[in-house]
Symmetry: C2
Subunit: 348 residues, 2 copies
DNA sequence: ATTAGCACTCGGGTGTTAAGAGTGCTAAAA
DNA sequence: TTTTAGCACTCTTAACACCCGAGTGCTAAT
């Protein structure tokens, strides 16, 4: 009597077999056949039985055959069923946890560094590509601008946003940077730049400000240009891709790896993919992604929120055959940690 | 009588043919045969003549055949002869020049930005991988450190080196950052950190400093740790690789592209390759590079020097079949420009 | 010195075949 | 009714033979 009792319910043994197929395929990358499955898992049934079950899983759409005489591989539906129902979502591995902690320890206190470190660490850990989006949005305000002269004609400038992103650069003027210049610079900054959204500090806006400057226009211009350049680079931290070369090692993508890398290189579609995630941890398998270029990939998007309502994301992109079982706990742990640390860093 | 008069000298026509073969092969990527060469160049000799000449070029080692019945491709020696004697080293293209100028215009005044922009721009231009090394060395000193509180427990910290590299980060302490802390921080910085080589500000060194702090050890520690982190990241700017995914588009590297990317990902050998260059513009063709992984690649290393004796480099890495004729003027122009602009930025 | 002509070579493409892996089905056993 | 053993079948892959064409090297004629 324990058979598929409903359309959506699989018999225990089918579940077991599906889980084994998915896991074996994830491990080896080879289509798994009835015999191979038995010898690898030690199930105490015959290959014929497994074959029958697999056959049914096949017609139910959970498995598919690359060709008639090969083993089976999970279909998209199969992966989906696996991550939804079969995967033991175990706790994160203690060692992995240590690696993560150690990896981002040097960035504690600085949101931007936390974000990029987390991306790097996760890329190393998962051997997949990772994407991070900083909690930068419409309402990320310019919080502080400092300028420190380091020579007669040059100064270092630092810009801090309400989200804790810090950008700095040197800038150079044609005429001397004296107290007067600094004063009028801070005046402009105080009145027209601070507490404005970073996205609004465009070159055009700067132009209009500069036009209104009395007197030392030509000294002020490079300073204001530097401000706009810094404000602009805040936006750059929004979405960053890392570890994409990891994807080359997967034999899953044959020659198509190049096309994938090209796709990932473009900003807009990637932003789209990430931002279309709703939950706090979303898994998009294969063609669940709306972009054709991702049909053989899975994207795991995990969100964290910092004290405001701003949310950032960390994502992992890899072949559908990625190791969900270990990646998911890692990315979860990572996002929690980063969210906590950033919130902490932003406390007054 | 104009034949190969010496071992090292080729007849005019041989030179012409060699040049054509190299250029055609660079353009098409296909081995060039006698007929194809004539039809592509409009030479007024018969294919048989060309064949004879090619045959001799072959035995002299300038050309080689992938297989008997294919056309010829330049050997390493052929490329070498081409870049040394045959290539018209024309001026940089006006359009390219504009692109370069425009590309790095936003970075003027900031050495570090200049360096990374130049790398990016050159990667886009050449479609190859690019490597930049900043003029960071043993004698790059910490020139200035500023710390600006931005909240009760957090401050932004900025570090400037003698070479104009600026690094910044937020840092956070457990107890309040007050005037006293700041004062003792600056005391430590002034006495033990400023004007020291950045490379010497290691975590270990910081440890010994921190140990000697009286009183508020636990507040000072994160600040000093941040200093060491910043000093460390100065070293990171030393050698940076960019545009490596460009290499994937070259059909020259088939499956070996992956191995190449892996090689380029490692820091030490790459440093070795770049730093073994002696002249101001060095071209290493194929296995002239001492690393086996580069046997199908050429590396062009171009140096610039800034006012001191510090020199940085910009390099292009691509298949031996790269377009030397346009890449070389571009990289030359770029290094000159960057060298000039950095020197300018570093003037008092 | 150049060229036309020609035999030759070799890689790439196209069957064909044999081996191997894996399946689906059937009939017997539990 | 479920499981299992056996077997025929399918399909991929590797290996081999084959042909075609591009390109060569050589020779003889100009």
């Amino acid at each position: 009597m324990p058979e598929q009792t409903e359309k959506t319910e699989l018999s225990e043994r089918k579940k077991q077999i599906l889980a084994h197929v998915v896991e074996l395929y994830i491990k080896t990358g080879e289509p798994v056949g009835s015999k191979g499955l038995i010898s690898a898992t030690g199930m105490s049934v015959s290959s014929a039985t497994v074959r029958n079950e697999m056959n049914e899983l096949d017609s139910l759409g959970y498995l598919e055959q690359p060709h008639t005489s090969a083993g089976r591989i999970p279909s998209q539906k199969g992966y989906r069923y696996y991550v939804d129902h079969l995967m033991k979502n175990r706790e994160i591995d203690e060692l992995t946890k240590r690696l993560i902690d150690a990896g981002i320890s040097s960035a504690v206190g600085d949101p931007e560094k936390l974000i990029s470190k987390s991306r790097e660490v996760l890329a190393n850990l998962t051997k997949c590509a990772t994407v991070s989006t900083a909690p930068v949005g419409e309402m990320t305000l310019i919080r502080k601008i400092e300028i420190v002269p380091v020579g007669t004609y040059s100064a270092m400038m630092v810009l801090l946003t309400s989200n804790g992103i810090l950008k700095s650069r040197l800038c150079r003027t044609d005429s001397e940077i004296n107290a007067g210049i600094l004063e009028s610079f801070y005046n402009i900054v105080d009145s027209f730049i601070l507490e404005k959204p970073a996205l609004e500090i465009t070159p055009a806006y700067i132009q209009t400000l500069a036009a209104a400057v009395e007197g030392d226009y030509f000294t002020m211009l490079p300073l204001l240009a530097a401000v706009s350049e810094l404000a602009d680079s805040v936006g750059d931290s929004r979405l960053i891709l890392g570890g994409s070369s990891n994807l080359l090692s997967f034999k899953d993508y044959g020659a198509s790896a190049v096309a994938l890398l090209e796709f990932l290189g473009k900003r807009e579609p990637l932003t789209d993919v990430i931002s279309s995630s709703k939950g706090s941890l979303d898994i998009h398998i294969g063609s669940e992604n709306k972009y054709k270029q991702l049909e053989n990939s899975s994207v795991i998007v995990s969100k964290y929120s910092v004290k405001g309502d701003d949310t950032g994301t960390i994502s992992v992109i890899g072949p559908t055959r990625m190791d969900y079982e270990t990646i998911i706990p890692s990315i979860k742990y990572m996002t929690d940690l980063v969210g906590r640390l950033i919130s902490q860093a932003l406390e007054e």
